[in-house]
């Protein structure tokens, strides 16, 4: 467990250092994700413990957004001046982006059917209310 925490933090630290040193447009943790991914590809597998440590962190990924979320609610007054254009834009744009991206991916998958494997047994045909 300790080793894998060191791996995760080490990747993040390396990412932060690269981001600062080369003035990259990506934040440290995202570069760290890339570094770990490259490491896994080179190694050709995921150590059992890393799988568990990562799973433990990601099981409650949404918890980690709670402090920032509270900060947003406390500072919600910053949008009060233009709350109407902002809220309409956020809602419509988010829904539109999801719709366009998903439809395009499905359409392209069909157009280039050979590029995609058969849907895995994990993907049920009809998500009912529960899908992401």
């Amino acid at each position: 467990m300790l080793d894998f925490i060191i791996i995760l933090l080490g990747c993040q630290l390396a990412g932060e250092a690269l981001s600062k040193a080369f003035d990259l447009p990506l934040p440290g943790p995202v570069i760290g994700m890339g570094l770990l991914f490259i490491g896994l590809v080179i190694k050709g597998g995921i150590p059992e413990g890393l799988q568990r440590t990562a799973q433990g962190l990601l099981d409650h990924l949404s918890l980690l957004f709670v402090p920032a979320g509270v900060g947003v609610l406390v500072h919600l007054s910053v949008i009060s001046k233009e709350w109407l254009p902002i809220s309409v834009s956020l809602v419509l744009s988010t829904v539109l982006t999801i719709a366009v991206t998903a439809c395009l991916m499905v359409w392209l998958s069909k157009a280039f059917g050979h590029d995609l494997p058969e849907p895995s047994p994990k993907s049920p045909k009809k998500p009912r209310g529960k899908g992401s």
Partner: protein, 239 residues
């Protein structure tokens, strides 16, 4: 309410322990309700926890900075958790490779849609230039969005608020949107939600389906990259 209670409260309110415990308990309650509701996206655990904690802060007249003394320990884990997203990504390497072309095209078009539609709608409703610049990178993960916002003349602090709101909106409205469109492919569902609503959308996707979670993680990372590189160019082009 004896004076002793107040003494105790004053003591506890000064230690990080209280803020941390309140965060975990509020999230636990949110999660419990979320599971009770059969993972209904409207009962989003982040939203519930945020509302509850804000209520507690308001009632007890506590400053956000005081609360954050404790909550920072949770907040800190966002970094290593983002790194850990490489694991689901690697687990689904085969599916990701096979879908490389649809991923590439959907990324560019989706990223442009996120920025152009947000700015366009805000512009039609009479938003100021500063607000439009702040809203443009809203679908990217917070640190990227704030950096881009500053570069194109927005307010990074306003962008931070808009990014979190976008994340919650995507997690809450994504399922409904995708079901109406009858999108059943978990790869497309995950990718769309991760692209439009970064980490909070990805968290929701991971809870629902592992394939959707992997594609959401990838979309979050890629859209961060696309927003950081393409948005400043797009803005220069249009302005």
């Amino acid at each position: 309410m004896t004076p002793d209670f107040f003494k105790l409260w004053v003591y506890l309110a000064q230690t990080p322990l209280l803020g941390l415990t309140v965060t975990l308990v509020a999230y636990r309650i949110g999660l419990w309700l979320y599971h009770r509701a059969g993972l209904n996206p409207l009962v989003n655990p982040v939203l519930i926890a945020v509302l509850m904690i804000s209520g507690v802060l308001w009632v007890t007249d506590t400053q956000y900075a005081t609360y954050f003394e404790g909550a920072q320990f949770v907040h800190f884990l966002l970094g290593p958790a983002t790194v850990a997203l490489a694991v689901p990504l690697y687990n689904h390497l085969k599916e990701l490779k096979a879908a490389a072309l649809p991923i590439g095209v959907a990324l560019i078009v989706g990223s442009a849609t996120a920025a152009i539609s947000a700015v366009g709608i805000a512009w039609m409703l009479g938003a100021s230039a500063e607000t439009m610049a702040s809203i443009a990178p809203k679908s990217a993960t917070a640190p990227i969005a704030m950096g881009v916002s500053e570069k194109i003349g927005g307010l990074p602090s306003l962008t931070a608020v808009l990014v979190i709101l976008t994340g919650i909106l995507g997690a809450v409205l994504g399922t409904w949107t995708l079901n109406i469109l009858r999108i059943t492919d978990w790869r497309a569902r995950g990718f769309a939600v991760g692209l439009a609503s970064h980490g909070i959308g990805t968290a929701r996707a991971l809870q629902v389906n592992p394939v959707a979670g992997a594609f959401a993680s990838l979309a979050m990372g890629l859209n961060g990259l696309a927003t950081a590189i393409l948005l400043p160019l797009l803005i220069r082009w249009f302005w």
